[in-house]
Structure formats: C-alpha cells, structure tokens
Amino acid sequence: MNDNSKFKLGLFIILATAVFFAALFILGTMDRFKEKAHISTLVSESVQGLSVGSSVKYQGVPIGNVSEIMIYPTDNVIRIDMEINISKFKVQQAGQAPVTIPIEAFNEHVAEAVKKGLCCRMELEGITGGKYIELQMVKDTSPPEYDVKEFGLAYTYVPSQPSLISDLRGSVTAILAKLESIDYKGISDRTNAVLDSINERVNSPKFDETIDNVNAMVNEARKSIENLEKLTGSDVKDKIDTISQNVSVAVNAVESLTKSVELEIKAIEFGKIAENFRSFLSTAIRTSKTLDETLFNVDNGVDALIELIQYIDSDPASLIQGKKKPKTDADDAQGDGKKR
Amino acid sequence: MADNNAANPAPAAIEVRDLSIGYGSRVVLDNLNFRIEPGQIVTILGGSGCGKSTLLKHIIGLYKPLRGDILINGRSIVTADEQEKRSIMSEFGVAYQGGALFRSLNLAENIALPMEELTNWTRAEIRKRVSEKLALVHLNGFEKYMPSDLSGGMIKRAAFARALALDPKLLFFDEPSAGLDPLTSDMLDKVILEIREKTHATIMMVTHELPSIFRVSDRVIMLSAEKKGIVDDGSPAYLRDHSADEYVRTFLSRGGTYKSNSTEPDHA
C-alpha cells in the first residue's frame, strides 16, 4: 500500500466520519444533551390519537413531546407526562441576546401560570387523527373530578381541560338529553283527552235541549205579561195605571232584555259552531297522531346523532376518509342524522 | 509421535492402508496399500485420469477417502480433528502444480507467510530464513518480485521454497515440471536433488515426465485406471526392464535409457 492510497483512505475515513457526526448533530442528537423540564397532566377522556412522541405546544409554539402515557384504572384517569425543551423559553435583558431561562424558573413560571388558568387540552393535528397537547390560558377552569394530590406526581402538574371535540360532544349530548327528556307522549295524550271531553260536551243532546228551554221560557214570560195587561181595571186604573206603567216599563225592560238575549242566542248559531268545532277536533286528533310519529322519529334521530358524534370523536379521520368498516347501524344512523 | 504403532518404532513417512478414493459413488482407486520410508524420493506415476493427483490430495488431507487410512509420520490424517489435522499439515510442505503463490503478496512475503502464521519467529529470523530458502532454489535477489512477474520455472521454484518454509521432513510436489521447457525441467530436477541432499526430506512427487522420473526418483508407484490400483512398485530402471506388467514396461521405455542430463524433447 503506497502513500497515495494511504492518504486517500485516511481522507475518506475522516470525511465520512465528519459527515456522520454532522448528521447526528443536525438531526438533533444534541437535543439529548439539552436540559429538559417535565410536566404532567391527568385526563379522564380518551387519549385516542395521542402517542408517546406527540408534540406539546405552548400557545401554538412546539416546546416538547409526550414522554409517557399511563393509565390509573382505579380512578379511571390517564396520566400524560411531557418532556419540555426549555430552550424555547427566553428572558430578554436590555441590550442583550435572549437567554434561556433556568429550569427552576421554568417550573415556577408554569406553577404561576396554572394558578392563572394554564391548562392542557388535546387538539386534533391535521386530518390524520393524530393529536397534540396544547398548553393555553383558559378563563374559567373547571376543577378536576379527582384529587390530584392523591397521584403524587413528581412533575409540575398542569390541569387538563376537555378537548374541543369532547367539549363539543358534551354540549351536543346535553342538548340532546334535554330534548330526549321532554314527555312528548304525555303532552299528546293530555291534548287528546281535553279535545275528547270538549267534543263530548258539544255533541251531547242536553246542549240543544238547554237552548230550546231557554226559548220556551222567554215565550212564557211574554204571555204572562200580556195577560197581566188585560186584567187591569178602571178604579184602580190610575194606581194600576201607574203600577202598570211601572210594570210596563219593567216588562219592556224585561222584553227588551229577552229580545236581546234571543237576538244574541240567534246570532251565536250554536249548531254551526258546534259543527265546525267538531271538524276542527277531528283534524286536531289526526294531527296529534302524526305528531306522535314525528316525535318518535325525532327520538330515533337523537340516538343516531349521539352515536355518530361518538364515532367521530373516536376516529376523526373518518370525516375525511369515510368509515373503515361499513356498519349498517352506523350507516343508518348517519343517514338519519343527515335527513333531520 | 509413534504412539499407535508398536511394531514399527520408526514410523513410515507415509503409510497408506486399504485406501479407496473416488467421487461420490465412483471409485477411482480401490484398496491401496503402500509405505514410503523416510528419505526416499517416490514418484506416483500413471496415465492421465488414473487418479494420481487425486491420490496426492487425499494424502495431504484435502479430501476425505471413501475407506481406509492414511498415516503421516504415524498420525492418521483421515481421522484427525481440525486442529490435529492442521498440526499434521504443518509437518509437510506442498508445491502445487501451478505454484499457487498468493498473487497479492511478493515472493518473500509468500515464503514468509507460513512462518508468520504458524510460528513465533521474529521478523529478523523470518527474513533470514526466507533468504535461505530462496538461495536453496536459486531465487535470491527476487524477494520483491510479484508472482505475476515471474516465469513458469521461477514460480515452481518459489513454490518449492514456500513448501520448505517450515523445514518439513516430508515434501509433496504436484507435477513439478509440467508445462516447462526441457532445460528448465532439468534445472528443477537438480533443485529437487539439492533439496533432498540438504534437507534429507522425504519427497513424494506426482508426475508423468519420464526424464524427470529417471533423474530423481528412487522408487516409482505405478497406478492404472483400469485396475483402479497399483500395478507395480519399484525403482524406475528396474521396472522399465523387469516389470511383470507389460503396460509398465512400455510406459517407462518411452522415457528412453538415459539417467540424466537429457536433451530429449518434451513429452507429447
């Protein structure tokens, strides 16, 4: 082996090794030597789509990755540990380049921010169904349903908020539950009962009889008044006259009253009204049956919609890609959901 | 060494017992028995295709025989395990037909190779021994030559030198003078005799170069393809004149009557 080839070999080995280490450096092995902070959170919803290595963002800025996902089955809680590259957190001093904050300062900052409402929530990343964890300030933080201290977390704890999709699902489910709780059947039954009883009254023969009785009574009253006029003598004519006049006045008054009653009763035309009312009622009854059916259908639709939303939540990619396994039930549900 | 043969306190250099060799089911040579005593130059002779080269390769342990045993200095090379086989092999030297020098190494390195690999000798010692061996075959001064730069005769001599590297007491030469012109062939014969004189080694050759046989061999073992075995065994001159087998007599007569320094043209 001559000097020339020795040189060649040496050069090759040095260059290739240099490229090797440069590649390691560029591709971020150096990250391993950077200081890492850790935070943890606890969630009770499904972490479908989240995996070790999923990114963690602070108000949209990528700052780390999920390092561990654990299940505490007794509490039905999932613990997510995150590794935070604190080199993204800087302090600016006047006239100097930004400096990365020390790890203790970072932990303090997180603890402070948690008091002010810093929360983790899972967000959908792109269309692939993968998720990332977003750290952000939330105005009204609902307290967790479990005692965080029981878990004895070694890392800084950041509470979690339900993710957007689980929020959405929650609201829709609540609305639908309210809809579902309305007693459509009871309402329609009661309406029917009322209508039936009205119908019965109007149709009964007593109703016509009462009107006839009223007519007869009025006629009787007129005859009595005429007889009373004939009986009146001349002696006591004056007295009687006055009385008669008074009576006459009174009778006139009664007559006019009677007439007006008669007129009114005539004007009412009860028969016709009763007829109309009856036909209205039968329509109403028919309508009420249709209403029943409609309500039943709405009920079904609600179930299907809930199913659909749960499905989408568990596999958001299906929104774009369609369902993986064609399932007749779910298909129907989706169909129903769209129709309504 | 002679642990297995109480009747023969001095074991034969080579002893072949009931040896059958061949390829697969085809037997080439059957039921061979012979002994070669130390210090002899023995030639295995036979027509083309009678299996003499194959026999040689069995004796040096490259192939496994179908049956029988081969003892080198009293140790069986057939039944030896890998390590013992290597130990037996280090006791003999082989010069192959084409020289089989390693083309990536120069002449000195070729000869030094077995020394480097199998001994604990120092570099200086190895260098000294290499030049000794090269002097023995009249190649001193060619240390730095690559095998491709050497002529056919030189390659053969270099192969002899390499075979001698570890001072073995047993040498195998496969067709030492094949394909060489008569003068070079003569010179090789002289070298072989010189080697024997200086090292007192037993030499087993395979060749059908008759002039060479008459010049150097003490004994000829004649093989025949038809008989699948030894036809005759004895000194070349005796066999030429007195062999019971006509084939042997005819074969050896083709070599003429001379004993040495022949200018007879090469064989057909």
């Binding site: 082996m1 050069l11 590649a23 591709l27 | 280090s90 082989v94 192959y96 089989a100």
Partner: protein, 271 residues
Amino acid sequence: MKNPADSIIQCGDMAFQLKDEVVSLISFVGDVTAALWEGIRHPKRLRWKDFLFYMNTCGPDGVPITIMISALMGVVLAYQAEVQSHKYGADNFLPMVIGCTILRELGPLMVAIVATGRSGSAFAAEIGTMKISEELDALRTMGIRPTRFLVVPKMWAMLFMLPLLTVIGDFVGCAGGYMVMRSELGMPLDVFLRLTRQGVAVKYFIEGVLKSVVFAYIITMTGCWRGFRTGSDAIAVGRSTTSAVVTSILFIVLTDAFLAKLFTVFYGWQG
C-alpha cells in the same frame, strides 16, 4: 418427448442441490463468524495489510460511483415526490419525505447494491480464481484457515467502509434532493434543513447506518461464499461472480424488508 420421470428426477436433484447450498452457506457463515470472533480475540492475527488494502478498495475507490448514484437517486426521488405533492400543496413535507426515504431505505440500499457490484463480485472472482489455481488448497495444507486468511480482512474492511460510504451516500442523496427543492420550489437551504430536522429523527439515520453494517456482512459473506463454491472449469469464476451479485442483492432486499419491519416494531415500542 421427455419422460415425465426425468422431470421428477430433475426436481429431486434440484432439491438436493438446494439443500447442499443451504447447508454449505450455513456452515460457511458459522466458519466465518468463528474466524471473526477469533480475530477479535487475537487482533494481532488479523492480516492488517490485507485489511488496509480492502479498506481502500471498498471505501475510497467506491466513492465516485457512490456519490454519482446517490446524488442522482436523491434528484430523481425529490423530483418525483415534488411533482405529486405539489398538487396537494404539501411542499413542506418534501424535505421530510426525501430525508426519511434516503436515510432509512434508499441510501443504504443503493450503496449496498453498488458495493455488491464492485466489491462482492470482486471477492467472488478473487477467491474463485484462487480456488482454481489451488491457492486455497495451499492455504489449507499450510494449516491456515482460508476463512480467516481471506474472508476476515474483507469482512472487517466492509464492515467499516460500507457504513461510511452509506453516510456519504445519505449526505449526497439529501443534497441532490435539496438541489431539486431549490430549483423547482426555490426553497432556501435553512428552510430545507429546518424541515428535514423537523421530520427526520436521528434514529432514522442510525437505522440506515445499522442496516448498512448488516448489508456489508451479507455482501462479503455471499461474495466469499460464492468464491469458495466456484467449480473448477474456466467459466466457473464468471458464473460464481454473477451468482454472487444476484444472490447478494436478493439477500440484501430480503433483509431490508425484514429490517424495515423490525425497526418499525422497535419504534412502536419506543414511540
């Protein structure tokens, strides 16, 4: 017409040949591995001169063709990917696609195939020629194990050189990809680097380099094995050279598929 029995006999023969081949390969692998181990235990017994010689022939001498093939591969890959993904506006994913594909698969694979053509065939031819000229027999009768003498230096040289060649191939391939990104999309270098870093984990790079170590083992093993299996006639060396290349590429691709799965499973555990 051929006798049907003949075909059956032929099939049987082929099966026996195959069995012979497999047995011989396995024992050869065992032999070489034992010799390698011996070399590790006694580094003095390694043939350093041969080792350096083969380092030179397998490494620096192969750089020009490796660079050429890898660069072109990077260019072609980037161009094809760009044409497709540009339609979807996914240009920002291209550096990741190029980086991952080259570092994980194409880099090691192409470099290994080039090395098979250059070194694997050379090993087969060299050992085959040595067999025909009885040099292997000579070694054996000298009490030297041919595998230790012939295969081990080649093996070490390849095990060292092929990963380095792969590193160069990876680098040049990505550079070729960048050239396309630059000319077609006008992507600046820092953006390309940033996007590559974002999508390409360092483990992918390590994966490729580890693969190339396995490929080096396969290339040397197959090349030398074919050399040792050379027949004794004149065309045997040519045949064993061809078969060394074909067998070696076949093994490389099979192993690559297996390793791809293996690494994916491993990453599955790691995340």
